[in-house]
Symmetry: C3
Subunit: 138 residues, 3 copies
């Protein structure tokens, strides 16, 4: 059985953001699923989805600091410059972190660890409202 | 319902390549699927699959330049040297970018964003024809 | 058809470890599957799952060396320090490499390349026994 829903996240500032609750609000159908999988897919090339620590906000700040260090703006070897200094690094961050997640569903809930949450990586300065597709299988 | 197909991509030079069309040609069965998921899996440890910008070829060039900077050849701490300077960095790039994609299917099409395409990361100098498995669920 | 199983891996030292056999021992049900997919999910934010070279142990050593170089401990811009120098880098490595894998199943076997194996990235100094969820679809 497949259930699919497309929706837009609230716009967010550049950085990493916990979006677990905003996703769960969109898909109460999970509560009916005994065993399944949820695919979360982001339809953009300058934002990302990943899973990480859901408690301490400094983890998200450190992610933003470190990814900016590891993939700096304005490297002299970059050719793709037309859309601003934040654009090409945003593409690289998106491919490194990934565009989709596949999370087990068990007894009506996402079966993640207690410290796991879903991160939106907003890698543009002005990314706007990002579109997500949820595909629930059971 | 599962449909699965294994095939080989055309050989490509080291770098990042857009392979969306080459994949879609292999799986016209997608056109019959209302709601589903496509898993794309690469059976190699020195090439990768990711999703990124499908319009400007300089993005792919910048990816190659930046990944070579971030995972350089011939670091003095590398031990795995027997298969050439390009081999160990290729393995690291493959794990960073990933070996598979899971893409929603909606109304007979891959439901990606309009700027999204599927990238082959060919991380060896002479990688040859890479083998892909497509698994379509509906 | 869904089959799901949660279990704990043996505890391992910090570094990269081949866990393909330990996973397969947990899921003999794969042998009954003609076409399917196996999702492997790790319920932790400081360990990772990826696919890479299964033959030469120096590849795993080089991964550990390079990831420690690319995501160093004790950067002056890190704020999340309470759980030790290895903690924040472990979170970043986990998101870069990923928390889950999706592997095709064909004729009763994981349909990976002959050189592919499943890596546990244990990114903490004392990570303990990590919990895995296997979800098999057919």
């Amino acid at each position: 059985m497949f259930f699919q829903k497309e929706f837009r996240l609230k716009p967010r500032a550049r950085g990493f953001h916990l979006i677990t609750n905003e996703i769960l609000e969109q898909i109460p159908e999970i509560q009916q699923v005994q065993i399944g999988l949820l695919n979360v897919f982001i339809k953009h090339t300058s934002a990302s989805l990943s899973i990480n620590e859901n408690a301490d906000p400094t983890v998200r700040k450190d992610f933003e600091a470190h990814f900016n260090q590891m993939i700096p703006e304005d490297q002299d070897y970059y050719l793709h410059l037309d859309e601003g200094s934040d654009d090409l690094p945003a593409h690289i961050k998106s491919s490194l972190l990934g565009s989709s997640l596949n999370i087990p569903v068990t007894n009506g809930r996402l079966n993640m660890g207690i410290w796991q949450g879903i991160y939106l990586g907003e890698h543009r300065n002005q990314g706007g409202a990002r579109t997500i597709i949820l595909t629930l299988q059971s």
